[in-house]
């Protein structure tokens, strides 16, 4: 057992896979010599050399294109898009090319690419460097979408994403980089499409993702103080989506809350709510409640950003007031 930060877990997970598969390569802006602008790729250049860890120009389309082309020849590639907001600059490659390649070609091609990107708010970076854009990717048939909340999950889901033969968008949360957690010894390989119950409870289910998971857990502690037993699910993977774990939990608790950092409209929680309403309606004792960032661009000021993104207080108060 070693304790690592979420930040260091990124390089740890990549290194585990690069040692295993000598064909695996990575490209991106400032990832080699600089070790990444978030220092998530420190040490990889030294261990694996400049042929496998390659700096690129500021050309997001060229980055994802090169990744896709190489992957179509059977070389697994990790591509870093520095901030997830920049996905908008290269969305054609992601949404129209990688995602549709297998289907459009009748299964002739596959694209084993992992697109790693720093997602989410809390850094006071303003509207163009703070967004949670996992829902942009979730809506595209042909993309897999993962967002870990702990260092161990970063390593395990990174391995699972790299070994997956399809394009996976891997969201690393900027506000979790400094958080710490235990990493088990030996090779760690997780499974895509698996949610995890991270706190058991009986009165309500709180489904959360990435930074919202520790906040939901803290809110659950406070709810426990007033006798409300909340079960917290770390959704972890949006595509594939582990609906079984959510449905089983709602069957037990009869109440569902989603905690989403994405702006409200078409957030991932809307899909989860829809599935639960369709398939577990008669288990519910009350309306499904979505706790989200409002439908606004994110403000830069600390005070305003903290009001926008779901906080421990907001999760606690919402559940406390509505659970009835």
């Amino acid at each position: 057992m070693a304790e690592l930060t979420y930040r260091d877990a990124v390089a740890y997970g990549i290194a585990q896979e690069m040692r295993r598969d000598p064909s695996l390569v990575m490209l991106g802006e400032d990832i080699a010599g600089a070790g990444g602008v978030f220092k998530t790729t420190v040490g990889l250049l030294d261990e694996f050399g400049p042929a496998r860890i390659r700096d690129t120009p500021i050309s997001e389309q060229a980055i994802l294109g090169a990744a896709m082309g190489a992957a179509m020849t059977g070389i697994p590639v990790i591509a870093e898009i520095m901030f997830s907001d920049f996905i908008a600059v290269c969305f054609d490659l992601l949404a129209n090319e990688m995602a549709k390649s297998a289907y459009m070609t009748g299964g002739q091609l596959s694209v084993p690419v992992v697109v790693r990107t720093a997602n989410g708010g809390g850094s006071r970076f303003g509207a163009q460097h703070s967004q949670s854009v996992e829902n942009w990717c979730m809506m595209i048939p042909g993309l897999k979408v993962v967002a870990p909340s702990t260092p161990a999950d970063v390593v395990g889901l990174m391995a699972a994403s790299i070994r997956d033969p399809d394009p996976v968008v891997f969201f690393e949360h900027k506000s979790l980089f400094a958080s710490k957690g235990e990493i088990p010894e030996g090779e760690i390989v997780d499974e895509l499409g698996t949610a995890r119950v991270v706190r058991e409870g009986t009165d309500c289910t709180i489904a959360a993702l990435a930074l919202m998971v520790p906040r939901a857990l803290e809110a659950a502690d406070r709810l426990a103080d007033e006798g409300i037993s909340a079960e917290v699910i770390d959704v972890r993977s949006l595509v594939p989506l582990d609906t079984k774990t959510v449905l089983a939990s709602v069957e037990k608790t009869s109440r569902l809350y989603t905690v989403e950092e994405n702006p409200r409209l078409c957030g991932w929680g809307a899909e989860v709510a829809s599935i639960v309403a369709d398939e577990a309606f008669w288990d519910l004792d009350g309306p499904i409640v979505r706790i989200t960032t409002p439908h606004i661009p994110l403000p830069a000021a600390e005070a305003l950003e903290d009001m926008a993104i779901p906080s421990v207080d907001r999760i606690y108060e919402t559940v406390s007031k509505t659970i009835g």
């Binding site: 389309q61 129209n96 459009m104």
Partner: protein, 357 residues
């Protein structure tokens, strides 16, 4: 260049001064190309011409649905490059990709069946005319949103570089693509990484319905941009299979030797409109006339006769292609319409489409 917005020709592009083709260079008869290669080029342009004509006829019979973009008149570009490539080289095309897919060896019947949306199509009917792909021959796809595939072509070139093979990637695109950002990202990236990739602009003078010279900052939309990326400006007569072959062989050979990327601008003209829906009325009549007179195929036929290839040999090739196009048409028409079981296959590499448990 400045545009006078009061110019009445801007209301009707067909009233603009025509852009006539350059005459065929008579010296091209003497290019050092073996006669068997030239005969192969003749067979190739015949295949592309006759296939595309049949594809057009099948649109008219409403057997081909959706849209389709033909290479009629532009066959020499595809044929010239294909003849200069090795089988293991990679090819990328745009939505105007029938020619490049056939040139890389895809079965005519399967390509035709794909246009007809049949189960026996090259993509089982799931891609259609604009996404033709023949991965087993390293024809890595036809991409219908211009620009991205230049970036993807860098990826197969990077792969060859990493694996230490001598494979070259050849990426075709139109003049309109030179104005999109991905074109510029791709060229810079290819040069910086010294990738074995040859970018080929098929400049047919019209981006879609608008003359390219009205929307490009320079007269030769690809070649004039090449120096900005440390590349040589190369313009070739895209209606002369021999001229294309020579330029292609040179660029491909240099890329194969590790000398990096090249950008070739082949000047040509499409005989028809941009797509099935377009009669191409925005082009001056005498311009169309002049380019029809520069049709690559009769010109090449005459050249081969001058070089001593018997008429009988050429008509044998032509008839053999005609028979194969007929067979391809029958194969396509006989194909079943794909069943529901195909709707949910191949979203993922495992063949399935599940997104939840």
């Amino acid at each position: 260049m400045s545009i006078d917005l009061n110019d009445p020709a801007l209301l009707d592009y067909s009233q603009r001064p025509p852009r006539h083709p350059e005459p065929v260079d008579p010296a091209n008869d003497g290019l050092p190309i073996p006669l068997n290669v030239r005969t192969d080029l003749y067979k190739r342009v015949q295949e592309l011409r006759q296939f595309e004509k049949r594809a057009y006829d099948l649109f008219m019979q409403n057997l081909v649905k959706g849209t389709s973009h033909l290479s009629l008149g532009m066959e020499a570009v595809s044929a010239g490059f294909a003849a200069a490539m090795q089988p293991e080289d990679y090819v990328f095309a745009t939505y105007r990709g029938h020619a490049h897919t056939l040139s890389k060896g895809a079965d005519m019947g399967q390509v035709m069946a794909e246009l007809l949306g049949r189960e026996n199509g090259l993509l089982k009917g799931k891609g259609g005319s604009m996404h033709l792909t023949h991965a087993e021959a390293n024809m890595m796809g036809s991409y219908a949103i211009i620009g991205a595939h230049l970036c993807i072509a860098n990826g197969t070139a990077w792969s060859a570089q990493m694996r230490g093979t001598d494979q070259v990637t050849v990426c075709f695109f139109g003049d309109g693509t030179t104005n999109i950002g991905a074109f510029h990202e791709a060229l810079n990236f290819a040069k910086v990484w010294n990738l074995p990739v040859v970018f080929v602009c098929e400049n047919n003078l019209y981006m879609e319905y608008t003359p390219i010279d009205l929307v490009a900052a320079v007269p030769n939309p690809a070649a004039d941009r090449a120096p900005a990326y440390g590349l040589e400006s190369i313009v070739v007569d895209g209606n002369d299979p021999d001229a294309v072959y020579m330029v292609a062989a040179d660029a491909i050979t240099r890329a194969r030797r590790g000398e990096g990327p090249a950008l070739v601008e082949a000047q040509t003209y499409r005989h028809g409109g941009h797509s099935r829906a377009d009669p191409g009325k925005y082009r001056p009549a005498d311009e169309v006339e002049a380019w029809l007179d520069r049709d690559p195929i009769p010109m090449y036929h005459q050249r081969l006769l001058r070089l001593g290839v018997p008429e009988g040999r050429l008509s044998e090739i032509t008839q053999d292609v005609a028979r194969r196009v007929d067979e391809a048409t029958e194969f396509a028409k006989a194909g079943a319409h794909p069943g529901e079981e195909h709707l949910f296959t191949d979203v993922w590499a495992d063949g399935g489409s599940a997104w939840r448990n």
